[in-house]
């Protein structure tokens, strides 16, 4: 029997990008520029840190961030859930094929081409932990920062690039509009899939090797979606022009951000934390 469940069309409801949870916590109130810089620092240090101790510490910190930002940790967990199969597959691949890279440590199992050592175990566990940490971190960042703040933050951080004629402002506006339309297009696509399914279309059924057929199956979605996107873009251009937008011309900035002492304290904390993760000789 074909799998046709009801919820296969519910796309939007699973998109968490741009879902801002306003709790007004200290993390929410941070200057977006400093917040962005701090989080980037943390993510980089976690991605590089390869010890058990360091990663456990990082995991504790990322859980703590949920507490401080007063966002239920279930948001973070629901971000991890869809990644679990991916993490598992990665773990198996690492276990089977990365033994050459991580060949140090004690040999635990040696059977045919399977070659498991304490180091390869560590690689697997640390990668999984990294995944969870980074998902948690980016969840806290996006849930506690409005997309506008993120784009303003990016714009400010990229401002030095203006000296090399990089159109920083236009770039930020493009990001804003893109983020603005993510939920709109997700809804649109959901509606389109449902509408075509109502006319007898089927998606993702049939044998996988019939690529041509399966590609053709998505035409009834892609073509109208493209048309709708084009007409939306046309409308948007008119609306922007009507509001005196002239590309490339001078504009003022609506929000001035001011960094407070707490912001700098947070940044310094993140720098110290990153240094600890990278440089501290954790015993494991």
């Amino acid at each position: 029997m074909k799998k046709i469940a009801g919820f296969e069309f519910e796309l939007t409801r699973n998109i968490t990008i741009g879902q801002y949870v306003p709790t007004g916590s200290i993390i929410h109130r941070m200057d977006p520029r400093i917040k962005l810089a701090s989080f980037t620092l943390l993510v980089i240090s976690m991605a590089v840190c390869a010890t058990y101790g360091g990663n456990l510490l990082a995991l504790v910190l990322s859980c703590l961030l949920f507490y401080v930002s007063r966002i239920p940790i279930s948001y973070g967990l629901s971000g991890v859930k869809p990644a679990i199969p991916f993490i598992l597959i990665l773990a198996i691949l690492q276990l089977l094929f990365y033994s050459e890279v991580a060949s140090g440590g004690k040999v635990l199992l040696n059977y045919g081409f399977i070659h498991i050592t304490t180091d390869s175990i560590r690689l697997v566990v640390v990668s999984a932990l990294r995944f969870v940490e980074i998902i948690f971190l980016s969840s806290v960042l996006t849930l506690s920062t409005s997309t506008t703040q993120i784009t303003h933050g990016i714009e400010s951080l990229l401002r030095p690039l203006r000296t090399v004629k990089f159109p920083v402002h236009e770039f930020a506006l493009i990001i804003t509009i893109a983020l603005r339309f993510v939920p709109t297009f997700a809804l649109e696509m959901e509606k389109m899939m449902k509408a075509q399914a109502s006319r007898g279309a089927e998606f993702g059924t049939g044998a996988w090797w019939r690529i041509v057929q399966r590609t053709k199956d998505v035409f009834p979605i892609i073509i109208p979606l493209f048309n709708v996107a084009m007409s939306r873009a046309e409308d948007l251009v008119l609306a922007m022009e009507s509001r005196c937008y002239v590309p490339g011309s001078q504009r003022s900035v609506s929000k001035k951000y001011k960094a407070y002492r707490t912001d700098y304290a947070a940044l310094i904390f993140c720098i110290v934390f990153a240094i600890v993760l990278l440089a501290f000789p954790f015993p494991y």
């Binding site: 983020l179 609306a239 005196c244 929000k255």
Partner: protein, 285 residues
């Protein structure tokens, strides 16, 4: 006589598709005074949307002129001033909101006008309060209803302090409740002195205007007070345009009860007329 806010003089416009010219507007002339409330009605394809886009220089005439507050829309140097004076709200609520937060969207036009940030906050407060969306200022737009999104779009225009608001079928995608929300806001703005030009095919909207212009095949075929326009029910019917229910009822009653005023177009007017007639009879006794 006050100087007209917008003067449309012998405006003609055509699109060129595959080297064939398709005439859309033919020799259209009218003026809009400050504080007027004009409704433009006509079918899809009658040219009414094209006409509305001429009013702030999005499109410019092929022949004839559109003059806004003394500036000709053909002179591109004053285009920013023209668009600041004549603000425009479009049909699709989703396609005119630029930012991811209500407040930032209202700021978009102000940023374009290079308003200093100190003044910006004040203007945003004013505009959001005027449309009753102040409590939603930190919301992302996709959590709002259609009517609320359109109110945000209006606020984005109001913050620029225009003299005239053009609504290009701004209520056609909304439900009754959403439409009434918008109409209430628009009526209030008009009471406060803002000129309104509303392109629509909802006759109930036409009934609340001070003037109705009917367009068919790119030409103005009627122009006058709503009471007068809706008296020509036969012609409107020939054009497949509706007449407000109140007006239809009034005429039906008048046909059987001659004292009843058949030119009424509002629900309230019907009530008043019934009250008036019944009271007259009471005093007669």
């Amino acid at each position: 006589m006050a100087q007209p806010l917008i003067q449309v003089k012998n405006l003609s416009f055509e699109y060129v598709v595959n080297q064939t010219k398709i005439g859309v507007l033919h020799d259209i002339s009218f003026e809009v005074s400050p504080g007027e409330y004009v409704v433009i009605i006509g079918h899809n394809g009658s040219g009414k949307s094209t006409l509305s886009k001429q009013l702030n220089g999005i499109l410019t005439p092929v022949s004839g002129d559109v003059i806004v507050n003394g500036w000709n829309t053909k002179e591109r140097s004053s285009i920013r001033e023209i668009r600041q004076k004549v603000g425009m709200v479009f049909q699709h609520p989703d396609n005119q909101i630029v930012a991811t937060i209500v407040e930032d969207d209202v700021a978009f036009g102000l940023e374009n006008l290079e308003i200093p940030p100190s003044e910006m906050q004040e203007r945003i407060d004013f505009a959001l309060t005027a449309v009753g969306m102040n409590e939603f200022r930190n919301r992302p737009p996709h959590y709002l209803s259609g009517g609320q999104k359109q109110r945000v779009a209006i606020a984005g225009i109001l913050a620029m302090k225009p003299d005239c608001l053009v609504l290009d079928e701004a209520t056609s995608m909304l439900d009754t409740h959403g439409r009434n929300e918008i109409l209430k806001v628009v009526r209030k703005l008009n009471d406060e002195g803002m000129a309104i030009i509303s392109v629509t095919h909802h006759m109930s909207e036409a009934a609340q205007a001070s003037r109705v212009i009917v367009i068919e095949k790119g030409r103005i075929i009627m122009d006058g007070a709503p009471h007068k326009i809706f008296q020509q029910a036969e012609q409107l019917k020939r054009l497949h345009l509706d007449v407000p229910v109140a007006s239809q009822i009034a005429r039906k009653i008048q046909a059987h009860y001659q004292d009843f005023n058949g030119t009424l177009i509002h629900n309230d007017e019907i009530i008043k007329e019934v009250v008036r007639l019944s009271q007259r009879e009471v005093t007669f006794f």
